[in-house]
């Protein structure tokens, strides 16, 4: 499964301050650590970045790729910043991913054409103006719209990563299962099956600190079983990486050897 590292974001104090001061150190340190722990892609979350978003995104992409030779997941709602990031992205190690488009018309209409223009991958959140649908089937209906727009913009189905959106189990326990069902249904929307992604840690949002890792790990295994292709997680959490490797083995996606955890 593709691991997208989530640790470079505006919410974390050290990272946010580094971004504000244009201080490479903490950002590059975190980038290298995440890759070392198994991240195949790094999420670069600069937030809405209303103040010089383009400059910031350009600087972030170059700073991170200077030391981390992986593709980046560009995480912002600012379309100009998104475009700046796509322009600056070095595709040597893989194409960039737009995080994200959604079923909400305005967002879909400004982000999807960028994927077509820059030949990038793109995450499609299956929510719309009315919010996150209750049923997996309704998420599929939004997915179908996203896929329709993609076809219009010349974006291949293989480049879309559908995200069913995860609701925290402390507040909406009954919804946890629905997101898992949605992953299974998304896969069936096309041949070859559509790709999927989730922002994992939301499942444990609001739970006591010591419970969060456990909830995250088990939920990951369940989602992987239904066909999750990638997840935005903290790669530095060793036990999570071990669960991912073990699930890949149990599902026959990686060939078994006694030393599989060391690979």
């Amino acid at each position: 499964m593709l691991i997208i590292g989530e640790r470079i974001n505006v919410i974390t104090k050290t990272q946010r301050e580094a971004m504000q001061k244009r201080d490479k150190g903490p950002i590059q340190e975190m980038a290298k650590n995440q890759v070392r722990c198994g991240a195949g892609m790094l999420d670069i979350n600069i937030g809405p970045a209303e103040d010089d978003g383009e400059g910031l995104m350009d600087w972030m992409v170059k700073t991170v790729q200077e030391v981390a030779h992986v593709p980046l997941c560009l995480d912002t709602t600012n379309p100009a910043a998104m475009e700046a990031g796509l322009k600056a992205h070095d595709n040597t190690w893989g194409r960039a991913m737009i995080n994200s488009a959604s079923g909400e018309e305005e967002r879909l209409n400004c982000m999807m054409p960028l994927a077509g223009k820059y030949n990038s991958l793109i995450i499609g959140l299956t929510l719309n103006k009315q919010g996150i649908p209750a049923l997996a089937e309704d998420r599929c209906a939004i997915a179908a719209e996203i896929m329709g727009k993609a076809a219009e913009c010349g974006v291949p189905m293989e480049d879309i990563y559908l995200d069913p959106l995860i609701m925290p189990v402390p507040f909406s326990q009954e919804k946890s299962l629905e997101s898992i069902r949605a992953i299974r249904m998304f896969k069936e929307l096309n041949d070859p099956p559509m790709k999927t992604v989730v922002g994992l840690s939301n499942i444990s949002n609001g739970a006591p600190k010591e419970l969060r890792p456990l909830l995250n790990r088990v939920y990951t295994a369940l989602l992987m079983y239904e066909g999750l292709d990638s997840a935005i997680i903290d790669p530095l959490e060793l036990e999570m990486i071990q669960v991912i490797k073990t699930t890949d083995i149990l599902m026959g996606k990686t060939l078994y050897a006694h030393s599989y955890l060391e690979m």
Binding site: K253, T254, L255, A257, S259, E262
Partner: protein
Amino acid sequence: MAFVVPKDTYNGRVFEVEIGTGAKAVKIGGENTLPFLTFEGEVPNMPVIAHEIQDVLPEDWPETVQAAYKDVSGDPVKWAKHCQDNLGAQVIALRLLGTHPDRQDRSPEDAAKTVSDVLAAIDVPLIILGSNHAEKDAQVLRAACDAAKDRNCLIGKAQEANYKTIVAAAMASGHKIIAMSDLDVNLAKQLNILITQMGFDKEKIMTDPMSSALGYGIEYTYSVMERIRAASLNQNDATMSPPIVNDIGMYVWKVKETMASESDLPAWGSLEERAIGWESTTAVGLMMAGSDLLIMRHPKAIETVRKVVAELA
């Protein structure tokens, strides 16, 4: 309905491993698609065949294949030159069978001398094989590695019981390694992991899944190979991406079909053709499953396999 060629896309590729030095060095592997499917990928190197010779007279080889080398097989140097100069061998595999404790029990030093003598006589790459006695092989191959320094040989075989010594020796003298496990894809992966954890470059290994003769387990080898190749190409599993080597002569020329006379078994037809065909069919079958390097004995079987390789290019 229009036919669209169904192309698969792959995430990984087989490593390209070079053996030998100078103009006659040979590259093995490097493909990024299933065997010979150039319509959807690249096959930079076609399968290579190595001629097998031994350090002692091959008295236990069936008559059909002994006869092919009767004038040269008493002297490994003569034998090697014959294969290179007269039979067009691209690679030679020297099996140090004489070092087996149940055979002549030759010493590592004597074996090393044979290696040096053979190397002095040829310029094609050399594969150096032990007698398949785990403990003795560790000493013999260590001595052989040293004697063969600077010639970039392929040393085999490192197995679970003896890989540490052999890998260390190969690392010290800059050789490539054959890693062999018992017809099990997971064990094959584990051995490659253990070898790389010693610091040995994963791109200097070749995987020997343990070959079997046609009619005597070839399908086990065949499927292990297909699964190894799938892990490499579909799962981008670097530990399963070394090229695959099949040492088939030693398994083929033990079976009844290469020895029983036509008078004993009329339903089996002519012995000589049957035996040669048994070796070439084993080779062709395994090439379909992904063999990158084949170690073979009979010149006529080798000639046939070469023709097939030419037709597959």
